[in-house]
């Protein structure tokens, strides 16, 4: 005879397995996180709140002394507009896509965008293929208003959103 709560009991079992798998996976991710930080060619760690303040990101902070030295999420932007030739790296927003988060840092020389680095992006082919293209287009256009890369729409939109954020918060 069929017990009326058998389906619910089975669900509790499945939910427990899912919870355990997730916990184990996230624990493994925590272990892997320090190793991850070295991997990308970035100045900040992906978590954004760590205390490893990068020296290159605050090169302009020396001029003013007013900003907090450990600027990470938005970088220092209190410098006077006059310092045209100083190189400055601003970290953009973290934009989520269904495939993972995207975050970039934009490097300015004066008001000119010289470089866009990926701090984090979904670990898939589409993103790997799209980000170099987007970086060169942004540098060329000196703006976040460039076309998205077809086949990687989500990554592109999130990427450009992050770039825009960096430009706005420079």
């Amino acid at each position: 005879m069929t017990g009326p709560w058998r389906g619910s009991a089975l669900f509790v079992g499945v939910a427990a397995v899912i919870g355990a798998a997730a916990a184990a996976r996230f624990a493994a991710a925590e272990d892997a996180a320090p190793a991850m930080a070295d991997a990308p060619s970035s100045e900040t760690t992906t978590s954004g709140s760590s205390d490893s303040s990068s020296p290159s990101a605050s090169s302009s902070a020396d001029d003013t002394d007013s900003s907090t030295p450990s600027s990470t999420s938005t970088a220092s932007s209190d410098d006077s507009a006059g310092s045209d030739d100083t190189e400055e790296t601003v970290v953009g927003s973290t934009s989520s896509t269904p495939y993972g988060s995207v975050q970039v840092s934009v490097t300015f020389k004066g008001t000119t965008i010289t470089k866009v680095d990926v701090l984090q992006a979904p670990n898939d082919q589409q993103s790997d293929g799209a980000t170099p293209t987007l970086a060169s287009e942004v540098v060329e256009a000196q703006s976040a208003k460039v076309d998205t890369v077809s086949g990687a729409t989500y990554t592109s939109e999130a990427y450009l959103e992050s770039v825009q954020y960096a430009i706005d918060h420079r």
Binding site: T2, S8, I18, R25, F26, A29, E30, A33, S47, Y99
Partner: protein
């Protein structure tokens, strides 16, 4: 016993039942298939978890929101696998039918149905919750921002609502008050719901989108499931129907509210059913067209015709008595494992409640032909509803005991442990076959278990009676 004289009231003819040659090794193989089937479902779900593990980025824990979203994705992947399993369980795959039996497949389907519904709720709640945490929106606007980000999510939401409707009409409380037709029509919506939810999985699911291999496997899983449904639930019945129909030959009133329908024709000749099994029957006449009902065989099939004995339980089976000879019938099956093959002891006790005598009568004859020591207890409210009694009385080597009367009138329960022990002193060494209302089967199972009958020796078809209306 080895009597060679066939009493006239136990059906004519020789003893050609192919089923008699089924051996213990076959039974073991079937049991193994049942375990294997459950193992495959569990393995597929485990594969989904492993796949999720390998494709989850290490920064999934970057915030509470992304972590919750990640768990929601895992729930979704497992859900996708279980939905396929749900459909396969009732796809009438012959291999599953033979090994597990339609009754248990349907029971599993019901159990897993509740699991799938709760998992669906988990997936949606965690998805919206994760998005809400990530974007700091309220759940409602989080749903809409998800909708913008994930392709085909709107259709998936429609599919989800359809799933809810299917689940609601299948809940015990609701189903009891619902016409079979309404339940069936809603259940057909499941296929649409699966189609609608499929596309957001392959086009929007972060994990499936990222891995072409996994996506191919995912497509293969769903296409294979669809193929099973098309072949065995749609194609095969159509082919069978095209190759010859069954016809109603005779309608006999056996007792108050109990009617027998004899079927003949080419479809019946090809049926290869065993005593105690049931078939899905659709009478091609106004009032019966919309639905196929499960009815049990009440004779050992002789290869030319079968007899179905129907108790007037629902509005549909109540009209069976009005069927005219010659009415065309679509017969699907046979299904069920309430057969003589399950007996392992020489001694057998069969307990029938009301119209449950139909399959019990058939199995009793088959067991008797095979030389078992057969006792039949037939419980009924009154003499007037005691159907088929004449066919079992006075059969040498078969003891038939009618237990007639309401408990209140009798002043005792004729199926209480003491009574059963007095009627069948050696019950503990017998196989026990039960068919009747679910409450009676439950009670008798408890009774005989208390008298020392091992669980493995108690046999009943979980569908055989409950669904016969």
């Amino acid at each position: 016993m080895t009597s060679t004289s066939v009493p006239s009231n136990l059906g004519p003819g020789p003893v050609p039942t192919a089923s008699a040659v089924r051996t213990a090794s076959r039974r073991r193989a079937d049991a193994l298939t049942g375990v294997l089937l459950r193992g495959i479902v569990a393995a597929a779900a485990a594969a989904a978890i492993v796949f999720w593990w390998t494709t989850t980025p290490d920064d999934a824990t970057a915030s509470a929101g992304t972590a919750v979203t990640s768990v929601a994705e895992l729930a979704g992947l497992v859900l996708g696998v279980l939905v396929c399993a749900q459909v396969l369980l009732v796809a009438r795959v012959p291999w599953f039918e033979r090994a597990v039996g339609l009754d248990r497949l349907v029971t599993w389907h019901r159990t897993l149905g509740a699991t799938v519904l709760l998992l669906l709720a988990t997936h949606v709640v965690l998805m919206v919750g994760g998005q809400s945490l990530t974007t700091s929106e309220n759940p409602w606007s989080a749903l809409w921002s998800l909708n913008r980000a994930v392709p085909d999510l709107l259709w998936a939401l429609v599919g989800g609502v359809l799933f809810l409707a299917v689940a609601a009409t299948s809940a015990r409380v609701v189903r009891r008050h619902l016409p079979y037709e309404a339940w069936y029509a809603t259940h057909l919506g499941t296929y649409l719901a699966i189609y609608l939810t499929f596309w957001h999985q392959v086009r929007g699911g972060a994990h499936l989108f990222a891995s072409p291999t996994a996506r191919t496997l995912w497509y293969a899983m769903y296409l294979a499931t669809a193929a099973c449904v098309l072949v065995w639930r749609v194609g095969l019945p159509l082919v069978r129907q095209a190759r010859g129909v069954a016809r109603v030959e005779r309608v006999v009133v056996e007792a108050d509210g109990v009617t027998s329908v004899w079927l003949g024709g080419r479809a019946v000749e090809r049926l290869r059913a065993q005593a105690g099994q049931f078939v899905l029957v659709r009478f091609l006449v106004r009032g019966h067209l919309g639905t196929a009902h499960p009815y049990s065989l009440s004779t050992v099939p002789d290869g030319a015709r079968v007899r179905l004995t129907v108790g007037a339980l629902g509005d549909h089976s109540g009209r069976v008595g009005a069927l005219a000879p010659g009415t065309r019938v679509v017969v699907e099956g046979p299904y069920g494992r309430f057969t003589a093959d399950r007996a392992r002891h020489h001694g057998v006790l069969l307990v029938a409640g009301g119209a449950g005598i139909g399959p019990v009568r058939a199995v009793a004859e088959e067991l008797w032909r095979r030389g078992h020591d057969v006792v039949v207890l037939h419980r009924a409210r009154s003499e007037r509803v005691l159907a088929l009694a004449g066919e079992l009385r006075d059969v040498p080597g078969l003891r038939y005991v009618p237990l007639v009367g309401r408990r209140a009138e009798l002043g005792h329960d004729p199926l209480a442990a003491g009574s059963v022990k007095a009627l069948v002193p050696d019950v503990a060494r017998r196989d026990v076959f039960l068919c009747g209302p679910a409450s009676l089967c439950r009670d008798v199972e408890r009774t005989v278990r208390s008298l020392g009958v091992p669980r493995s020796a108690v046999h009943y078809d979980e569908l055989s009676f409950e669904e016969q209306r």
